[in-house]
């Protein structure tokens, strides 16, 4: 019985990870402007060539079109094949998701919601309150947001000066890891998103085109 309790305890404890420690320099409200900010500054339409890596070594390529407005946090997005067939098209405004077109397996609300959340994490500054600003033990500049849904988002700047975003679950597990690189013409040319889910996936996004969107 004691052994069983011990095993359960070890299992539970190992499932709970802790967030990396941020050594705070000054109160967050005084240094918020020092946070890395790889996010969009204005409403923009972006086209990305996206490599999708799925479990089992399966790879696919699609074209992603995103219109994102950081002021309203409204998103319009579409996924299409290289050949031009639209697989998915949706709009989210004020938290209301409208799936305009979706072919299986993109026709589930879960997929759509996850995709919109990924897009927001990539292009929008996190919502919520900045909890800490400082440095990680490994030396990166880090700003930590506590979002409304018990998740934590760290926005980092590596020693090479490149921004990264990490979203942690309430138990401290990394759910999303985003790396930005190749800043040219006001936009990051390459974005890599690693998603840790039951079925994990990685997106390699290469910018094809970006331009300010009409209001």
């Amino acid at each position: 019985m004691k052994l069983a309790s011990l095993i359960i305890c070890i299992f539970v404890l190992s499932a709970c990870q802790t967030l990396p420690v941020i050594t705070q320099t000054t109160p967050p409200e005084k240094t918020a402007s020092a946070c890395p900010n790889p996010f969009l500054k204005q409403k923009t339409t972006l086209i990305h060539a996206i490599e999708v890596h799925m479990p089992g070594g399966i790879k696919n390529a699609v074209i992603g079109i995103t219109e994102a407005d950081p002021a309203t946090r409204a998103i319009s997005c579409a996924i299409m094949t290289v050949e031009g067939m639209v697989l998915f098209e949706a709009i989210e405004t004020d938290g209301s998701l409208d799936i305009r077109h979706a072919l299986p397996p993109f026709d589930s609300a879960h997929f759509a919601r996850n995709m919109i959340e990924d897009i927001k994490l990539i292009f929008f500054e996190p919502r919520g309150k900045i909890e800490k600003i400082g440095f990680l033990p490994s030396g990166e500049t880090a700003c930590r947001w506590r979002t409304g849904n018990s998740d934590t988002v760290d926005v980092l700047k590596t020693s090479g000066g490149l921004p990264e975003v990490k979203r942690y679950s309430g138990s401290g597990k990394v759910k999303r890891y985003i790396k930005f690189s190749g800043f040219t013409g006001g936009f990051y040319q390459s974005i890599e998103l690693r998603a840790q889910e039951l079925a994990s996936y990685t997106l390699f996004m290469n910018l094809v085109e970006a331009r300010p969107a009409e209001n």
């Binding site: 339409t45 086209i47 060539a49 490599e51 890596h53 799925m54 070594g57 399966i58 790879k59 696919n60 390529a61 074209i63 079109i65 219109e67 319009s76 997005c77 579409a78 299409m80 094949t81 290289v82 050949e83 031009g84 067939m85 639209v86 697989l87 098209e89 077109h101 072919l103 299986p104 397996p105 993109f106 094809v208 085109e209 331009r211 969107a213 009409e214």
Partner: protein
């Protein structure tokens, strides 16, 4: 997704193959003549520019590529920009390649069974049989250009395809463009240039991906 994706690709290839028989329509002879002349075409190669229009796009997304066909059923449909990809059908095998990690790799996401079904479906197009595929209703229109309009019959292409308009020049009988209308707000126009027929195409085109 795979089957839908490949359906679209093969529909597209089939339409283009069927439409790319330049001499077939020269005599103003209708579908029967078109079918008869299609048998004389042994190879086709062309460059293409694809313009994708959608509501979300303020201007069309331009893709460029190259297309090869050798009778009876070898084809290579290759995108060069903005995203490299190749579909090759040769000796009964269909493979799709995508650009990953700096090289072309085979798309392993499945769908081989779907490919076989779809390839069978488009065989009639490859033979120039516009009006004999029960999945489509074909109509002809004569104006400055000759237009063939293919409209899906039944519901299996709902949400994927509304109609296809193939425009053929009367002057040189060459296919000018293929307009694939998926919905009121989404269409794909493919403009062809440098089209050559019955010019030797090495078999390696259907074997090598680089």
């Amino acid at each position: 997704m795979r089957r839908s994706q490949l359906s679209f690709l093969f529909i597209l290839c089939g339409i283009i193959l069927a439409a790319a028989f330049p001499n077939a329509y020269a005599a103003d002879a209708g579908f029967e003549e078109l079918r008869k002349n299609a048998a004389q075409i042994k190879t086709i190669q062309a460059d293409f520019i694809q313009k994708k229009s959608m509501k979300i796009l303020t201007k069309p997304l331009i893709s460029e590529g190259r297309f090869y066909y050798t009778a009876p059923d070898s084809f290579r449909w290759e995108y060069l920009k903005p995203l490299k990809s190749i579909v090759i059908n040769h000796k009964g095998q269909t493979k799709r390649y995508i650009y990953s990690g700096g090289k072309m790799v085979e798309d392993q996401s499945g769908g081989a069974q779907g490919m076989k079904v779809i390839l069978g479906e488009i065989t009639s197009w490859m033979s120039g049989k516009f009006d004999q595929n029960p999945s489509f209703k074909a109509t002809l229109k004569e104006d400055t250009y000759t237009q063939i309009t293919l409209t899906p019959v039944g519901q299996n292409m709902d949400g994927m395809l509304q109609k296809v308009i193939i425009t053929i020049s009367k002057k040189d009988a060459a296919v000018k463009s293929v307009n694939i209308i998926e919905s009121e707000t989404s269409s794909t126009v493919i403009d062809f240039k440098n089209t050559q027929t019955n010019k030797n195409i090495p078999e390696s085109i259907f074997q090598d991906i680089e």
